[in-house]
Amino acid sequence: MYKTRRGGRGTLGAIAAVLAAGAAYPLILPRSLNFGISVVLFAALATAWDLIGGWAGQLSLGHAAFIGLGAYVSTLLWTKAGLGFAAGLPLAIAAGVLLALAWGFITFRLRGAYFSLSSIAVAEVLRILANNWSSLTGGPEGVSFNDLPPLFGLDLFDRRVEYYAALLLLAAALLIAFRIGGSRAGFYLEAVREDQDSSMALGVDPLRMKLIAFSLSAALTTAGGCLYAVYLSFFEPHGVFSLDLSVQLVLMSIVGGMGTVLGPLLGALVLLAFQEAFRNVFQQSSLLIYGVLIVLIVRYAPDGLSGRLQLLLRRIPWPLRSPSAR
């Protein structure tokens, strides 16, 4: 049981502050955009994951399936069919949503553990497909591309353009999380998550709720995948469908706080900053530390860091803070 923090104007203010800081970043640190893009992009992906993982309580351990799907669909549409991002992006998103609907429909009828298991399987199957269908995907060699037609006149390989695109995605994810939180749908999701049988007695259709959350999550993640592909300018089946990638998203949400609007963002920031700061120092140990973090957090702080932070914040009498939801 963990509390979902919906929050009112306070949270909206925090979102605005975060986005403003994000917008200013390239002006302050124009030469650290690689790092900046990875933070913003992963924050967006983690927030998207949390929509289905934290809010709806369905732990996807294969969200990389959408990242890879986005990467491949958008890139292949360009290299094989000459379709630029203006058309490629929406088509990729549509593909992601279709996958989510089909997959969710099959597995949401079952217990959560089955969904998690199936998520690993789906990502693996897609990886194997991408790896073996060489005529379409280039197989294990992956896909490289060094040019893309400009989108609305912007050079997609310019790091600043990529950064702001990622920021846009993050904004979308945060706002969706915020809206869900404050809406009826959010209450229903929470009910479904905590006690599915009772929620049905209330007239909530759990399947519909979960599918909505999953589709939104999928759409955002797929879009993130398209952007990730451009950022790397090269990707291969193993890298873009990997379990490690999926687990990273889960970890970011846990560390920051599942089921909260800003939690995954916080988690992404903390983890990536930590990784970069200690990259040359702790070397071998980063994944180990991730594992220890997960264990400790699940054991002692199920609400994540954001939860702890919020507990602390609640003690301070903020003037504009809205009454807490619970």
Binding site: S116, E124, R193
Partner: protein, 277 residues
């Protein structure tokens, strides 16, 4: 096909844990890897044959699993459904990365006098280590079956699996049962690792591959059904061999996974599971 026997052994542990505790152990493969490394170390340093070190590794597995359960899983047993999933994922990460730190990413093998020995039965050539593993799996399963059906302890386990509260009302110490079952499950997994080592090799992230196979096996056979896990294991082994002989080795793993997804779609309870999904 013989590898199916080993898959079965791994799957049984997982199934048992799920059946009694309703927890999917995402670190199952990593425990197996730990078992393999233990056998490796015992072989390299003390010259202990793997089949002998089984006697050390299996109890070690039991203890390790019990400790993990006591320290990490028991405190969160009433938390949200996803908490144990996350916890076991975390444990898996810790195990595989400790192995990486200690042993390096290098694959390691051991070569015993019988590693490449084969046996001919009715004009089919079978690998000796795999044959022995299969035989031992059968023994272990038989022993497990006897324990589950003939002993009080076994009955306690089955009672806890069916209905925890009712079992407690009957005086069963479900806490102890859960710890014991998890320990047995991981012990089985580590034992499977030891049996596989002579025929295979080990590297720190090999756990992930086997966790996935274990899942496929248990879902095919039905989560919570020991018999199902056996059939599931054999089925997976057969499916993979058939795919391999048709020359589709590149997509071999995909067959198991697609079968897995199909089963989820059509009959989530698996071949033998009770439909308590």
């Amino acid at each position: 096909m013989l590898t199916g026997g080993v898959y079965a052994m791994v799957g049984i542990g997982l199934s048992l844990i799920f059946g009694v505790m309703r927890i999917v152990n995402f670190a199952h493969g990593e425990f197996m890897a730990v078992g393999m490394y233990l056998a490796f170390v015992l072989f390299r340093s003390a010259g202990l044959d793997p089949y002998v070190s089984l006697l050390c590794v299996a109890p070690a597995g039991l203890l390790l699993g019990a400790a993990v359960e006591r320290l990490l899983l028991a405190p969160i047993q009433n938390a949200a459904e996803h908490a144990p999933i996350l916890m076991t994922v975390g444990v898996g990460l810790i195990l595989s990365n400790v192995l990486l730190l200690v042993f390096g990413a290098h694959p390691e093998t051991i070569y015993t006098s019988y590693s490449t020995r084969t046996v001919r039965i009715f004009s089919i050539t079978l690998s000796l280590p795999l044959l022995v593993s299969f035989a031992l799996t059968v023994l272990v399963v038989a022993a497990l079956y006897l324990v589950l059906t003939r002993t009080d302890f076994g009955r306690a386990i089955r009672a806890s699996a069916q209905n925890r509260d009712a079992a407690e009302l009957q005086g069963v110490d479900t806490r102890f049962v859960r710890t014991a079952v998890f320990g047995i499950g991981t012990g089985l997994s580590m034992a499977a690792g030891v049996l596989l080592l002579p025929a295979l090799y080990v590297f720190p992230t090999i756990g992930g591959i086997f966790t996935l196979k274990a899942f496929v096996v248990t879902v095919l056979g039905g989560m919570g059904s020991v018999v199902g896990a056996i059939w599931g294991g054999l089925l997976l082994g057969v499916v993979e061999s058939v795919a391999a002989s048709f020359g589709a080795t590149g997509s071999r793993d995909a067959f198991g996974l697609v079968a897995f997804l199909l089963v989820l779609l059509v009959r989530p309870a698996g071949l033998f599971g009770r439909s308590r999904v």
